[in-house]
Amino acid sequence: MPFRNHDTIQSGIYFPNPGTYDEVFAKDGAIKSFWLPILNSIDKTGPEQLTKEAHEIQHIMRENGVTYNVYNDPTGLNRTWQLDPIPFIFEQSDWAIIEKGIQQRARLFDYIFNDIYGENVLIKKGLLPTELIFDHPGYLFPCHGINKIHPQHLILYAADLARGPDGRMWVINDRLQAPSGLGYALENRSVMRRVVPDWFKNYNVSKLSYFFNIYRDALQSISPNQKPNPRIVVLTPGPHNETYFEHAYLSTLSGYTLVQGDDLIVKENHVWLKTIGGLEIVDVIIRRVDDSYCDPLELRPDSRLGVPGLLEVVRNGNVTIANPLGTGVLENPALMAFIPRISRFLFGEELIFPNVATWWCGQKLEMEYVLNNIQDLIIKCIYRDERYTSYIPSEMSPAEVSKLIIDIKEKPFYFVGQEKVSFSTAPSFFNQKLEPSNAVIRSFCVQSADKEYKVMHGGLTRSSASKRTFIVSNQSGGISKDTWVLEFENTNGSLPRTNTILNTKKVSNSLPSRTAENLYWVGRYSERSKITARLLRLIIKNIYQKSKNIPSSDKLIRQNLLSALTHLTMTYPGFVGDGSAALLRKPENELLSVVLDGNRQGSLSHSIHCFIRGTQSIRDRWAIDTWRVIDEIEHNWTIFQSTNNKNIQKYPHTLDNLISDLIAFMGFNSETMTREQGWLLLDAGRKLEASLSIISLMRSLLVCKYNDSVDFSMMESFLNVNENLNNYRYQYRSYLNVENILEMMLLDPINPGSLAFHISRLQKDINNLPQSAPDKLKEEQKYILDVFTRIRLSDLSHLCALEEGSFVRENLDDYLGEMASLLTDCSNALTKRYFSHTSYRSQMSVTN
């Protein structure tokens, strides 16, 4: 390979900051040899190519829906995950030390965890201050003593590392609650392999799948009583959590069920998953909810994210949680000041990783030191909560610093001062060129089935967007990097290439009730959005794309269409109730509201939001293509809304796109979803909504009789909204008449737009849902059978009959009205049977 000499590369493409340690350069200033192939390649292809690659990465990330939610983001948007094309590279010899350091630390924390919830030797021996543990809000007294009966171990551990000026790696943070980032690390690697496959050819990069298999085996092995086929769930706080993407990603990847607290219930001293087929025992919970929120009975009573009674099940050894409840207290930077001694005491070992020098203000001398040197330190709280921040006094105003000093003096035990270390830099691709940026590497390890800590050969590197920050976080806009650990020539190949699907037996995949409910409503809202959009499109074209001179018959047509809109969307009073006369004369504001007002139930915006929210809370259910469409609907609608578009004449174009996207969403689902319970509910939701809509439109547009010209318009509009005008012409080739339309749209069992068709599909879906007594009809089956029979037995001439002098087809209206109420009852019965978990939980008042 034609290597250029490194001077050219150095001067050509990358300039580190003078005086700081940079990853690329050895002490003598020469480029480390393992950086050469990649720098060389970048140099050869130039920044344009790298820019293209960076764009492609972002494109894939967006398409795959890889997001990171930012709290309090006013736009409410999920931020697309950022990945820098330049990886962070570790040599094997360098990594070997890191690996040992992580293992040592994990063992140490595992021991501390067991001690502070057990014998308290460390406190009694004076190795840990009492208040550091017992006064820390993360210490959960109800968890004390569980270990004695059912040993609990730290299963997952992650550490944030950065390279200090001496070239050694330092630990900045320990993550022991529910370390996040593993999913992002896996996704980063898969995107990198897609976008820059050539780079990997020159390196022997350790594969991540090996670790992921160990991770799965580990979780399998911790189930109570070593069950061979445990049910493992991922407990997430829900779609608003910052790393929700990852919860869904990991659960899909490993085949675990993604659940929220409401999906689980404690009964008979076990944890159960509520599925539409009944309750199923849960053996292992991978916890992504902070421990204090996990059980409102014994921990935080205000929590809605947990499962009441969970702790008692843990105490009885009937469920294993990874990480165990109570580990939050260990995410305490003040511990850094004490663990070197603990390590000597327990293992007779010095820590492999140096800690960042840490002074805990709970000690008098240390507090004085911190206050005297505050300008040179970073101040951190020992408890991480929503408002957790680190303070950099040298960058704060004098007033802010004095306020901080008062806070420290009032609650000294709450604060630590940490040395400001200038960490190493590594090249990142910013502004079309390589720039040095600080990097923090999160390294992951898991306690494997044989009780040893295994470290992932890789990790999640995040680098700061600005050059001078000591704190790197996703919340403040960091960018991630793929993390490469280079293996010696032949070791990578010798790693057991296991395909550890221990049990190829298909696990029962009963649908959690909450997921079922979401699918049902996604079905309903997708259909509702579609039909609302169609009617709106028709109305807007009718009103705004015709000449100004309207004959009186046209006025009547418009009025009828507008009231049909109010009935369909149930946005009463709207164009039908009090004050409708004025609105009918000038409909524009009301129309805008029915399109745009997200707070108004029934508006198009409201339906779309409900649709999107529903899809997001079960995002592990959608195929990637489906997800892309959802993302597009959200993206386009957000833009449409935020442009504050008051020009209603331009709406049809937006509505066209929306309708196409919604149909694409439905199409992808019917192509990709297995015809299991999930599909049945999604489809049932759609069919039920479609049936209700068609009934509503029939009642608004076909029940009354006017003059021929108005009748024609009404019938034409009805067929148009239902996309059946061409069908009609093809079938009847005749003048429009109500009887023919009803034959086609009400009774025809093979027309996919007819009510008969919807109802028979709905009936099939409902019949295929799980049932406890298959030979007895369930309530919802009875309702749907009733509707089905009414359609089959209907007599068109009776329905269309008009009494002498009357303009209303009373028979038709009654008939349709009864069917609508039967369908509503059917939906209620479904809800009651399958989604009944939605009942509220309330904390009984405490007695005194």
Partner: protein, 292 residues
């Protein structure tokens, strides 16, 4: 002296409840001053799961769940308690060591004070604040014997605070109680604990009962109709010393201890979570009768 205690708690729900999980701390524990002769908890309807354990603080905790539809929950705790060995650790207040030396002992790393030390910190319901420190200071003059200082504080709370049932709820912050000077026994115990901790000392919350039927010629004590609460302060060597700020008493023959913790949250008599969207009502009755 022997007492029979009957403590009943009755919940009524507006709509049938399918499932409830509960935790109770209603069984008095053995202490130097009392022996539990017998006790029994009855729950109606019969729980599906019922477990017992002793918590971090040494209190008796029971857990139960009822997993079938019910509209009512009735929990009855019955105990016979013998008060013994009264004032085993009593010393004249004036002879106790100074509060500063207690503070220094607690602040030291001496493992002998490990148990006391965890009661020296802020806790959720008895958090230390500038207000509690300001209120405490006048009682803690330099060099004052600790029990004398605490007794002075107890006396001030009794005289300056008004016993007003219903004025506070359990979530009323202790700072508010100090400002408003109104509340019930839990509040006064929390105020005292918060004040004592603000001086660097250790105090714990005691949950218990008071004799409900006054002896002839004596008035009925406040807080006797429900469970009662007071506090205890730590002194090296002699141990924990109880004070009742609600009645300005040193708890003795007429006080029966259920358990203790850092504050109310650690010794809540009965708490539970039900799955229900409806209302519920609660009725508590406590009867403490002298039987010998």
């Amino acid at each position: 002296m022997k007492y029979k205690v009957i403590h009943t708690t009755k919940y009524e729900y507006g709509r049938e409840v399918d499932l409830c999980h509960n935790q109770l701390r209603l069984l008095p524990r053995n202490t130097f001053e009392q022996n539990i002769l017998q006790n029994k908890i009855t729950v109606i309807p019969t729980p599906n799961i019922y477990t017992k354990r002793v918590d971090f603080f040494g209190n008796n905790v029971h857990y139960f769940s009822i997993e079938q539809p019910h509209e009512e929950l009735l929990v009855t705790s019955q105990s016979e308690v013998e008060k013994t060995n009264m004032f085993s650790n009593s010393i004249p207040f004036q002879n106790s060591i100074s509060w500063e030396s207690v503070k220094d002992a607690i602040a030291s790393t001496n493992p002998a004070y490990f148990d006391a030390r965890m009661y020296a910190f802020s806790s959720h319901f008895a958090n230390v604040s500038i207000q509690s420190n300001e209120y405490a200071k006048p009682s803690f003059e330099r060099g004052r014997p600790i029990l004398d200082a605490v007794s002075h504080l107890t006396n001030r709370i009794y005289n300056e605070f008004k016993y007003v049932p219903g004025y506070t709820t359990i979530s009323t912050p202790v700072q508010t109680v100090i400002m408003e000077k109104k509340g019930v026994c839990q509040d006064f115990a929390h105020v005292a604990i918060s004040c004592i901790r603000s001086m660097g000392l250790a105090a714990r919350y005691v949950s218990g009962y008071l004799e409900t039927i006054p002896q002839p010629g004596k008035t009925k004590l406040k807080g006797a109709d429900a469970s009662h609460a007071w506090f205890s302060v730590y002194v090296p060597q002699s141990g924990w010393h109880d004070f009742d700020p609600t009645n300005n008493l040193i708890p003795g023959q007429r006080h029966i201890t259920i358990g203790w913790g850092r504050d109310f949250a650690d010794v809540t008599p009965l708490k539970g979570v039900v799955l229900s969207s409806s209302w519920h009502s609660l009725k508590v009755e406590v009867d403490v009768e002298r039987i010998g």
